[in-house]
């Protein structure tokens, strides 16, 4: 509310200019609708293999969206978001397997707990900025990664199995069916996307963009920059945890690898490929990433080698990502 008033009209235009596809909102909406329709229709005309990839891409897309809120909108590059992916997976695993709670209690409790853990972590991490922020988020995730390997009641490095998918017997279907699970993931992904869209178009989101563009000015305008950053950090963590829940349901298990350093890096890579600070960007990036990863695994066993090279090329040559690229094309034409 107050944010709306405090941003001068000039600044708001400045903020809007940085939003994707200026002056072509309708094209953007049409693109989005086309995307949504084709995603809904997908299972009826593709093989199970393509659907598997689509599920993986959507889960990765939710994960990358969480990173995007922090990295693309708030300008804080984190290399530790995989810890929240792990928290999501471990959260429902602990809730359902160890505490015996049903999934519909475990999942929301997990998200609340993640937010409660992420807030103090965010409070510590956001005391730094730039590369120091990157390093401390990395350290936090390594710490939880180490803890997950050591903890005996979560089976250490073996992880936990038997994570339940949602019980959809009320609708007369079983989520163990790949097509049903696909729609479940699609629904959650769309909901996360809408929530993210709501966040970034809100006054709160404008303040985050303001922090990214000029933190000192936001401070002198009277915003409690620290609290906004912590809020962004916690929200991003919750979105990543949603992806973690989906991921663990998809594979039926969770292990410490979900929190690895490389996982965080992959998420950041997806955000860069898709173009940071575009709401749909992470999904595009995730799709490109999942497809490239699949293609690579078919032609080579040296995944790390090509992952690294791919990463370097994207960072060096592909600033702004796929959507950023399209956006500049459209911008030029207008």
């Amino acid at each position: 509310m107050s944010a709306d008033v405090a941003l001068s009209s000039e600044q708001r235009i400045g903020v809007l200019k940085r939003l994707p596809l200026p002056a072509s909102r309708r094209a953007y909406a049409a693109l989005f609708a086309l995307f949504a329709v084709s995603l809904c229709a997908l299972p009826s005309f593709v093989s199970g293999y393509v659907m598997t990839l689509a599920v993986e891409a959507m889960i990765a897309g939710v994960f990358a969206s969480g990173i995007n809120l922090l990295t693309g909108y708030t300008g804080l590059v984190s290399l530790g978001q995989a810890m929240f992916l792990g928290f999501g997976g471990y959260g429902i695993a602990i809730g359902t397997a160890l505490l015996g709670w049903p999934l519909w209690i475990s999942a929301p409790v997990t998200l609340v707990v993640v937010a409660a853990i992420a807030a103090p972590i965010g409070a510590i991490c956001t005391r730094t900025r730039g590369v120091e922020f990157l390093l401390i988020t990395l350290a936090f995730s390594q710490m939880f990664y180490g803890a997950a390997i050591k903890l005996r009641w979560t089976n250490g490095s073996d992880g936990m199995t038997g994570i339940p998918r949602p019980d959809l017997s009320l609708l007369g279907v079983s989520a163990d069916n790949p097509t049903v699970f696909y729609y479940y993931v699609l629904a959650v992904a769309v909901l996360s996307l809408l929530m993210l869209w709501r966040i970034v178009t809100s006054p709160f989101g404008s303040v985050l963009v303001g922090i990214r563009e000029n933190e000192r000015r936001m401070m002198s305008m009277g915003y409690s920059v620290a609290n906004y950053k912590i809020g962004s950090f916690a929200l991003a963590a919750v979105i990543c945890a949603v992806a973690g829940i989906l991921q663990s349901q998809y594979t039926y298990f969770v292990n410490p690898d979900a929190m690895s350093w490389q996982m965080s890096g992959e998420g950041v890579l997806m955000v860069i490929i898709g173009g940071a600070n575009v709401v749909l960007g992470p999904f595009v990036g995730a799709t490109v990433f999942v497809v490239v990863k699949q293609a690579l695994s078919m032609i080579t066993e040296e995944y790390n080698l090509f992952f690294g090279i791919f990463f370097m090329l994207v960072v060096a040559l592909f600033r702004g990502g796929v959507l950023g690229f399209i956006s500049t094309l459209i911008g030029k034409r207008q």
Partner: protein
């Protein structure tokens, strides 16, 4: 008492190894403002190149001498041909460069695995440094003492070079005011690339030195580089002396956690880092950081 002393020495030995890595990382950051996440890659590179040299010549000393050359060349080339041009074209921020080196870290691990496989290797301890020596009524491996001595020697040498020589003065001037140094007719790009290469060579040197006590494997650099990050952040990014003290603190914490609180071994140093971050975000020995 004796186990405690042995742990103490092991801690110092680990500290010195980490210091060899941290000093290059912090030097590069202080001078060029580049966070080189690929620093661990040079550690791996040095170890494997040393391994190749040791296997073909049978001499540890040649490996120690020649091993760091490859990381030197690679580091020099990375800065001179990739990072510097990217930064100069203004297309990339320092964070982008950090992410680029993140990719390089994994690419190197993958490339090494492709060439050498995923087996564990080791370099044999040289005859001169084999065996144990009596020390305060206990036996301690000579080689570990050698690592401690090397670490201290390099630390002292670096402080002398940076504080007392013309090269050091140029470096310090480069940190303070890049434009002015360029105006004085110094090819700062070349200087920076050389420092980058030197830092990388130190990491590679650490790789060879550690080979007789630790295993050589393809992702060895990925593990140790995170410990190194903790050291440079605790010591204050860009602070040379800080990284020496921080190496000792982190090395000790890690060693004693492993010895006495094994449950915490994988995360003791991170708790240390978080504690430092809460009370002194600029690092224990860092100056008050610039803001926004």
């Amino acid at each position: 008492m004796q186990p405690f002393l042995i742990q103490l020495l092991n801690g110092v030995q680990l500290s010195m190894l980490v210091f060899l890595l941290a000093v290059g990382l912090t030097l590069i950051f202080g001078l060029m403002n580049i966070l080189n996440l690929a620093h661990g890659a040079f550690f791996t590179m040095g170890a494997y190149f040393g391994l190749v040299v040791a296997n073909s010549t049978g001499s540890f000393w040649l490996a120690l001498l020649i091993g760091p050359l490859l990381p030197f060349v690679a580091g020099f080339a990375l800065q001179f041909f990739v990072l510097q041009p990217l930064a100069q074209r203004g297309r990339s921020t320092h964070l982008d460069l950090a992410l680029l080196t993140f990719g390089l870290l994994f690419a190197t691990a993958g490339a090494v695995e492709h060439v050498f496989g995923s087996a564990f290797h080791s370099i044999v301890t040289p005859d001169l440094l084999k065996g144990r020596v009596g020390l305060l009524g206990m036996e301690y491996p000579i080689y570990r003492l050698f690592i401690i001595a090397v670490g201290i020697a390099i630390g002292v040498a670096l402080v002398l070079v940076i504080d007392r020589t013309r090269v050091g003065a140029t470096l310090r001037a480069g940190v303070d005011n890049r434009e002015m140094v360029t105006a004085l007719g110094i090819n700062i790009n070349m200087l920076f690339a050389l420092v980058f290469g030197f830092g990388s060579a130190l990491a590679g040197f650490a790789g060879v030195v550690s080979a007789p006590v630790m295993s050589i494997y393809s992702s060895m650099g990925i593990g140790i580089v995170v410990t190194t990050f903790v050291v440079v952040v605790v010591g204050g990014l860009g602070n040379l002396k800080g990284s020496f003290y921080a190496s000792l603190i982190v090395g000790m914490t890690d060693t004693f956690a492993q010895a006495y609180v094994p449950e915490a071994e994988l995360f003791a140093i991170y708790i240390l880092l978080i504690a430092v971050m809460i009370f002194r975000p600029q690092g224990l020995f860092g100056a008050v950081g610039r803001i926004a």
